[in-house]
Assembly symmetry: C2
Homo-oligomer: 390 residues x 2
């Protein structure tokens, strides 16, 4: 019997944040990597689209006119999934298995930039820092409102993800309830904090262990060629997690110290965050020379601390470890997508390419966006991107 080889033998990995497994079938990728077969996608979007409800000065469906904003813009969604408090009380359950929990809150839209044709991958450091500041503002404003117990910041990018408007923007949904996935992650972080694994990783509040501090401390210590790290800077690392479901899934998190939320970032940590957001989204676009589709979400403390009364390292609610998930559906080219269906919907997620293989592909991509390469080098750009991609 051959020794176990993670690139040959089917196996399962467990996600300690959720307790769920992923089935890995690496033998199915034994065929040679073909790389992209499509020409690089050009950006044919105008800088301003008179019909876009997010462009500066245009009118939204609800009738309001957008400001002529120069950097970012936040407004409340006219078709929010939740309504502001107060709402009615819960009705009696007709059966113990059929309970109803009323939910209140608000949904905000955050435009990243006035330019209709840009994306995170094509914005500069200063612009991305403004977006992080805006995320912090909304998180603080919504998270301290009466009855709000959770703030979810996310971005849904690309027609493939059902996002019909290419104007760069994200959303923030603020709710009276902590949703299922972050609730599960927080419960597992809390459970882990009560355990005492030996580790020289940074610690969470009260000197307790942190699952993500321990995990990321291990990952940044793996030899770069063998591991799952895609890019790393002084404070942040982007990696394809051990338990990744999506072919090129990435988790982005700070690794030098335990950081509960975006409002806990120092200036240096915030700059490093902007830098790594740029590096990750540029690599994504460069992977298949297209504007890469994904859903991104920020997981952190459900709401920011209401005051400074409790020191950061003494506050049990700081058990959360700030991290971002990027879930992109593309598999082998700009048009070949992975569907989460069949066995994956009915049993458990499954992947062919291992997380290590995915990380290796993302790691060798250039740091410069393929559209910017072309600006300077015209035709030769295509070769440059292909070479790195092969």
């Amino acid at each position: 019997m051959a020794d176990f080889d993670p690139t040959t033998h089917p196996h399962r990995r467990v996600n300690p944040l959720t307790g769920e497994h992923v089935l890995v079938s690496p033998h199915r990728t034994k065929r040679p990597w073909l790389g992209q077969t499509e020409p690089p996608q050009q950006s044919d979007l105008p800088e301003y689209d008179p019909k876009c409800y997010l462009c500066p000065g245009n009118t939204r469906a609800g009738g309001q006119a957008n400001e002529k904003y120069e950097h970012t813009m936040v407004f409340e969604n006219d078709y929010a999934a939740v309504l502001p408090p107060p709402g009615p009380a819960a009705p009696p359950a007709p059966h113990p298995l059929l309970t109803t929990e009323p939910v209140e809150g608000g949904c905000d839209v955050l435009c990243f930039h006035p330019r209709h044709d840009l994306t995170l991958a094509r914005l500069g450091q200063a612009d991305i820092i403004r977006i992080i500041d805006e995320w912090s503002n909304v998180y603080k404003k919504r998270g301290t409102q009466q009855g709000i117990n959770y703030v979810q910041i996310f971005e849904n990018k690309g027609a493939m993800m059902g996002c019909s408007n290419p104007h760069p923007h994200g959303q923030v949904w603020s709710l009276s309830a902590v949703p299922s996935l972050p609730a599960t992650e927080l419960a597992n972080l809390k459970k882990y904090s009560r355990s005492t694994p030996p580790s020289d990783a940074p610690k969470g509040p009260l000197g307790r262990s942190c699952l993500l501090c321990d995990y990321v401390h291990f990952e940044v210590g793996v030899a770069r060629d063998e591991g799952r790290v895609v890019v790393q800077n002084d404070h942040w690392v982007a990696l394809v997690p051990w338990w990744a479901i999506w072919p090129f899934e990435i988790m982005l998190l700070p690794y030098k110290r335990h950081i509960p939320s975006i409002v806990h970032l120092t200036q240096a940590e915030k700059s490093a965050f902007a830098e790594i957001l740029s590096q990750v989204t540029i690599r994504y676009d460069n992977l298949f020379s297209c504007s890469f589709a994904y859903s991104m979400g920020i997981h952190q403390r459900p709401t920011p601390p209401a005051s400074d009364a409790i020191p950061e390292d003494q506050d049990e609610d700081n058990v959360a470890h700030l991290h971002l998930h990027f879930a992109p559906p593309l598999l082998r080219s700009a048009s070949v997508r992975k569907f989460l269906v069949g066995f994956e919907l009915m049993a458990e997620p499954q992947r062919d390419l291992t997380p290590e293989q995915a990380a290796a592909r993302l790691r060798i991509l250039p740091d410069v966006h393929y559209l910017n390469v072309q600006k300077f080098a015209d035709a030769s750009a295509t070769e440059g991107v292909d070479a790195a991609n092969s």
Copy 2:
């Protein structure tokens, strides 16, 4: 403050099989129902396609030729997600958070019918009973193989679900491990069986409570106009579960007695199963006058009993209650799909249409497939379907 109205006020419902929530935003459906705007889809598929690797007599990618089968056909997938035993032992974990569990097993393909252009919705009772018999055969064969601890029967239908071949077929994946979702469901069924809620519903093994017996017993007792039942016969019921995620999600299960798996069905129960499978898939096709895309999966005892040594009602492994999940992505017409992205990937699933509203729409649809109506009535069929659909 108005009283709580489930068709007006945002709320959460919990799925007791998984412990997960769904956010319901019914106020977003207050606009009038527009119904379909597309003409009924015709079936332009040939009865036999010389290029289809599932049609009788054709050659598959692996080089083998299909039998000239007259009813169903089963073969092992050439590109299986798992490989047959024996596999290597688990490697040592480089860190306690990075464990590897080798998985073994096999993947089978089950052709439902020789005709390339048919689907479950267009097959007769006798043909569907043959499919159920074939499911039972594979479940018994694979489920009693050395090292197999779980058998997942499923169907993935439609290009929208990434299924490129329209030839009617399903799959069966047999594994050494119980996958995450059924493992969670089984754990919750087991936990519930130790509780003692008062109920006059049928009981599981050892006279204990069954979560699904209790749930479905309640549902069939709700006044038909108000509830979630879509169709019901002597043994089976199809309903939009209280906690449904997909707009027109359906759960199909026996309600008269606790039935652990398809091999436990009596002849009458099997006939009723075939009947309701037909009724559900016909209604799905009639909803938007198209071949409706979905993923379907059978949840039951992980593997059949190895012998009759333990009486059915004394076997603790019979805590499973046979049920099918149908997860269809379509929302408002043959082309408007729901994407599970953004907030739903990062926080929790969300729906607009309530399960009760979805059940009402499915309930009033005709029992005759729209393509068969047209066969007899030509042009007038479209009106007939539209009227029922409005």
